[in-house]
C-alpha cells in the first residue's frame, strides 16, 4: 500500500481536484485523474518533509472555520485602515516565540498568519525558534502575540499532537 501510494491523502486531493476542474465528469476523466493521482506523489514525495499524523481531525475542521471567519473580519478592519488617514497606521515587526518544532506545522502556522490580513510572516529563525511577523497596525505587542498563540498555535499543536 505504502509503496503504491506513498501519500494517500495527497493522491485523494489530486483526484478530487482533477474531477473538479474537468469540463464534464466521465469514466475517462476518472481513469486519467487516478493515474495522475498515483504518479505525482511518486515523483514528489522525496521532497516532502515527513508529514505529522493528524491526531484530531474534528479540531482541524474547527480551526479551518475559525481561520475563514477571521479572514473576513480582519479584511474589513484592514480595508478601514487602508481607506482611512494613513497616520493611523502603526506598522511593527514582532518576534513570535514558537513552541512548534515540526517544519510542516510551522509552515501551516506561518501561512495562516499571512492569510489573515493585518499580519504577515516574514522569516523564521529555526535555531532561536522565533517567527518574525510584520503587523500593519499594532500598539500592544504582548497582546498580539498572545492572540496568535492562543487562536492558531495552540489548536495546531492539538491537531497534530506536537
Amino acid at each position: 500500500m505504502r509503496r503504491v501510494l506513498p501519500q494517500p491523502l495527497v493522491s485523494l486531493m489530486i483526484l478530487a481536484l482533477w474531477i473538479a476542474i474537468a469540463p464534464a465528469p466521465s469514466l475517462g476523466q476518472f481513469v486519467l485523474g487516478s493515474a495522475i493521482a498515483v504518479a505525482i506523489p511518486w515523483f514528489t514525495h522525496p521532497f516532502w518533509p515527513d508529514p505529522p499524523r493528524l491526531v484530531r481531525p474534528v479540531a482541524a475542521v474547527m480551526l479551518f472555520l475559525r481561520v475563514m471567519w477571521d479572514i473576513v473580519v480582519a479584511n474589513v478592519e484592514v480595508a478601514w485602515l487602508v481607506l482611512g488617514p494613513s497616520d493611523r497606521l502603526h506598522p511593527k515587526f514582532i518576534e513570535l516565540p514558537l513552541e512548534i518544532d515540526d517544519p510542516f506545522v510551522a509552515t501551516l502556522l506561518a501561512s495562516i498568519i499571512t492569510l489573515t490580513p493585518g499580519t504577515l510572516s516574514v522569516d523564521i529563525d529555526r535555531e532561536r525558534r522565533v517567527l518574525l511577523v510584520h503587523a500593519l497596525d499594532v500598539t500592544d505587542v504582548p497582546a498580539a502575540i498572545d492572540t496568535i498563540k492562543r487562536r492558531y498555535e495552540a489548536p495546531l499543536r492539538e491537531i497534530f499532537g506536537c
Binding site: 515587526f93 492569510l115 504577515l120 510584520h134
Partner: protein
C-alpha cells in the same frame, strides 16, 4: 430572486475588496505595509467572486466546483509568494527594528 441578491452582494464585495487591495498598494507608505494589500485581494476579493459563482451554479443545478480550485490554489500560493518577496527584500535591506 433571493439567490440573485446573494450572488450580487458577493460579486460587489469581491470587486470592492479587489479595489481596496490595489488602493492599499498605491497608498501605503513602505514595502512591508504594501505587502499586506494583495493578501486582501486574494482572500476576499477573488474569494467573494468565487463564492458568487458557486451560489449561481448551485442554483442552476450544476455543481461547478471548478472555481473553488482557483481559490484553493490562491490560498496556498499567496503566503509562499509573500514569503519569497520578503526574503528577496531582506537580502538587500536590514529589517527595520521594532
Amino acid at each position: 430572486m433571493l439567490i440573485e441578491i446573494v450572488a450580487s452582494v458577493l460579486v460587489l464585495l469581491g470587486g470592492a475588496f479587489t479595489l481596496v487591495g490595489s488602493v492599499g498598494l498605491v497608498r501605503l507608505p513602505d514595502f512591508f505595509t504594501r505587502l499586506h494589500a494583495p493578501t486582501k485581494a486574494t482572500t476576499l476579493g477573488v474569494g467573494g467572486i468565487v463564492a458568487a459563482g458557486l451560489v449561481q451554479s448551485a442554483a442552476a443545478g450544476t455543481m461547478g466546483l471548478s472555481e473553488l480550485a482557483i481559490s484553493l490554489f490562491l490560498f496556498i500560493t499567496a503566503p509562499v509568494s509573500a514569503h519569497l518577496l520578503t526574503k528577496a527584500v531582506l537580502k538587500h535591506r536590514d529589517p527595520p527594528a521594532g
